[in-house]
């Protein structure tokens, strides 16, 4: 179904480095390589999960694509609704504005992403006002409809965000994101700041909206269990790089990268009788300012050999639609989990 669709976003070798300045003269002494050569293609109506530990560059990837940061290098091609294909990594703010209508973001923290001094009406209508889509009475109707869509009572339009709970605030954020009828939504850990019981509500809502509105999504999470039901494909990131990219089911059943295997083993099984072998990674995630030579994962990898310490592996398509960046992807037999089809 998805393979037949047209691509909507092509990310090619995206790099986002942040300079480290030191000393009296603020000399640049190095770079934090938050995103270091990320490439993927996203097809219409597809949901791509972007997972990894905190600090691995998932959020930065999302923000670079949306031009909240100016990428250091690489290309991002966006296919507009009218079929036009534009490169957005290097265009200016003014040229970016129409793209922002089609490509929106859901923020992680529903507490800090809503201006405490604005009413819900002003918050949700802000993108409409900025893009001159509606005004006056019409605006109220649109906002009311948007609130209903995300399960909020339009009577609460004049309230301030502090009067809402975390889950409700995330719904406000969601309504604001959907206000412009975007085609692509980058959801940056939309539920990780929420309570587990509320997480499920918001995830279900996202799923419903996605199907109804035909959204394409990049779903960023640090937890495979959150993305496994949402996503068609999953990309696993580690220290600024994608180490494995495959269809969700394939990735979970037959991981080809040792890091993916470790992440999968951390998913708590739904059945308490299942005894699962947890793979505990030793050591810390390396600093993106000073990544290890060779394979970035070799410092924590159980299977690391000499070649891993010297030569960085490339992301290659080992099996159809299954890209891995590991020297031994074909030789290792890694443990996955059973997923309901």
């Amino acid at each position: 179904m998805i393979t037949n669709q047209q691509p909507i976003l092509e990310v090619k070798n995206l790099k986002q480095y942040f300079p480290i300045r030191q000393g009296v003269f603020q000399r640049v002494v190095g770079h934090v390589k938050a995103v270091d050569g990320v490439s993927f293609t996203l097809r219409e109506q597809e949901v791509l999960g972007l997972v990894g530990e905190s600090g691995c560059g998932k959020t930065t990837t999302g923000r670079s694509i949306l031009r909240l940061y100016d990428p250091t290098d690489g290309e991002v091609w966006f296919h507009k609704e009218n079929g036009e294909r534009v490169e957005i990594a290097n265009i200016n703010k003014k040229e970016m504005k129409p793209i922002r209508r089609e490509m929106r973001m859901i923020f992680q923290d529903p507490f800090s992403s809503l201006n405490p001094r604005m009413t819900v009406r002003d918050l949700i209508s802000e993108p409409l006002v900025i893009h001159n889509i509606a005004s006056g009475r019409e605006l109220d109707d649109v906002v009311a409809q948007l609130m209903r869509n995300v399960g909020l009572d339009p009577n609460y339009m004049q309230r301030y965000p502090h009067q809402f709970s975390g889950g409700q605030r995330q719904r406000i954020g969601l309504a604001r994101t959907l206000a412009l009828n975007p085609r692509l939504v980058i959801a940056d850990e939309p539920v990780s700041a929420l309570d587990v019981s509320v997480q499920a509500q918001v995830l279900n809502l996202l799923q419903e909206l996605k199907e109804r509105l035909g959204l394409t999504m990049i779903f960023i999470a640090h937890d495979l269990s959150v993305v496994e039901h949402m996503c068609d494909r999953i990309a696993v990131m580690y220290v600024g790089k994608i180490v494995e990219l495959a269809e969700s089911e394939t990735l979970l059943r037959h991981p080809l990268h040792p890091y993916t295997e470790a992440l999968i083993s951390a998913i708590p099984p739904a059945d308490p009788d299942i005894r699962q072998r947890r793979i505990m990674l030793s050591g810390e995630i390396p600093s993106p300012a000073n990544p290890p030579e060779g394979c970035v994962f070799h410092t924590r990898c159980r299977y690391a050999k000499d070649i891993c310490r010297t030569t960085p592996p490339q992301l290659v398509e080992v099996e159809p639609d299954h890209q891995v960046s590991c020297h031994f992807a074909r030789e290792l037999h890694l443990q996955g989990i059973e997923v309901a089809p």
Binding site: R101, F107, I130, H131, G151
Partner: protein, 377 residues
């Protein structure tokens, strides 16, 4: 599926009590709890009323000299007459100047034989209420030919109370205008400095350091001395405000810059950028409202400092000049120990300066605690 989305989620809001409160209501509720803030607020309102209704409150014209009554001692209000009877209507006794037989110093002797009842809402000299409506009505007064100087008179025989009310006008208005200029410049430059960063930030911060390194008193003196006395009264008033504002905005600009630096990193500013909001929109719709509580507090705390600065300059004889009346110019008359020694009531303006400074400071402190009921930074 389609239907389940259209329907509002049923019970998320059911338990939640209706607690709709506007921003001002929240601030007022917190403000009310602090007694000292209420006192400050009342003092501020009282002084403002004094300034607005100065003419209504003064029984005799506070501008026209009346040498006959120069340096009159304050007349006391009496409620009990010499025969021990209580009167609901207060009265005063006219006083006459007598010379001490030994020292030949003049002093005032009340004439207890002629009680003069105080009348309320009487007709007196003509003035314009709020500068528009001509009126002759005064809060209190005595019959023609009699005097009532509750706080005494100055060397030209003008009622000190009336002049204090009139002086409140200049003193408060000047500090208010100066504060408004300070707040406008300070918050604008502060937000610009913090939001844009880079060389703009650098430039503004260096200018602030440059201005802060001036000894403010000396600069005020120099600038105030440059203003020609021949200028129009309004022009002098405006230029004095500008002089006080010139050095005053730096502190606020620094504070607002700091606050902007913190706000700039919040997600809601990032969200605004993600929507494609212009810089102007981010500054005026997101940054400014979140700095507003701080600005209001700084405003109330700046007013008293300007009142003091103005009194000080006027006391030295620079800045506001006769015929404009301010508390500072009135204090000038109390400069010599000799005059003050024999006419202690000339110190009354100082008491009102004290009241104003305390009142605004109390108000500012109360607002500081109350102004931010739901901030996140």
């Amino acid at each position: 599926m389609e239907q389940s989305i259209e329907r509002p989620a049923p019970n998320i809001f059911a338990q939640q009590e209706e607690q709709r409160e506007s921003y001002t209501a929240l601030v007022w509720r917190k403000f009310r709890k602090s007694k000292i803030a209420i006192v400050g607020g009342m003092l501020t309102i009282m002084l403002t009323m004094m300034a607005i209704f100065a003419d209504f409150l003064s029984p005799t014209d506070p501008v026209t000299p009346n040498m006959q009554y120069a340096y009159s001692r304050p007349q006391q209000l009496y409620f009990i007459s010499s025969d021990g009877q209580l009167h609901l209507r207060p009265f005063v006794f006219p006083q006459q100047q007598v010379l001490d037989p030994a020292t030949f110093l003049p002093s005032w002797q009340p004439d207890f034989s002629r009680p003069t009842p105080v009348k309320f809402f009487v007709q007196g000299y003509e003035y314009k209420l709020l500068g528009i409506f001509p009126s002759r009505l005064h809060l209190y007064g005595v019959e023609d030919g009699q005097t009532i100087f509750l706080l005494g008179t100055d060397k030209f025989g003008r009622d000190l109370w009336g002049r204090i009310c009139l002086g409140a006008r200049i003193s408060l208005a000047l500090s208010l205008v100066a504060t408004l200029i300070i707040v406008t410049i300070g918050s604008t430059l502060g937000i610009i400095s913090g939001y844009y960063g880079g060389w703009i930030d650098n430039l503004i911060q260096r200018v602030i350091e440059f201005l802060q390194s001036f000894p403010s008193l000396a600069l005020w003196l120099a600038l105030a001395a440059v203003i020609p006395i021949t200028w129009d009264q309004t022009l002098i008033f405006i230029s004095m405000s500008a002089i006080f504002a010139l050095l005053g905005w730096t502190g606020l600009a620094r504070e607002i810059r700091g606050k902007t630096l913190a706000l700039r990193e919040t997600d809601f500013i990032l969200a605004a950028k993600e929507m494609g909001a212009s810089d102007r929109r981010i500054i005026f719709r997101h940054l400014l409202p979140n700095c507003l509580s701080h600005i209001i507090v700084v405003m109330t705390l700046t007013v008293p400092s300007i009142i003091l600065a103005e009194s000080f300059l006027s006391f030295l004889g620079i800045g506001i000049q006769e015929p404009l009346v301010s508390w500072g110019t009135m204090m000038r008359e109390a400069q010599s120990i000799q005059t003050l020694g024999s006419n202690l009531w000339l110190i009354w303006p100082a008491f009102f300066i004290l009241l104003a400074v305390l009142g605004f400071n109390f108000l500012g402190d109360g607002l500081r605690d109350a102004a931010d009921p739901y901030s996140i930074v």
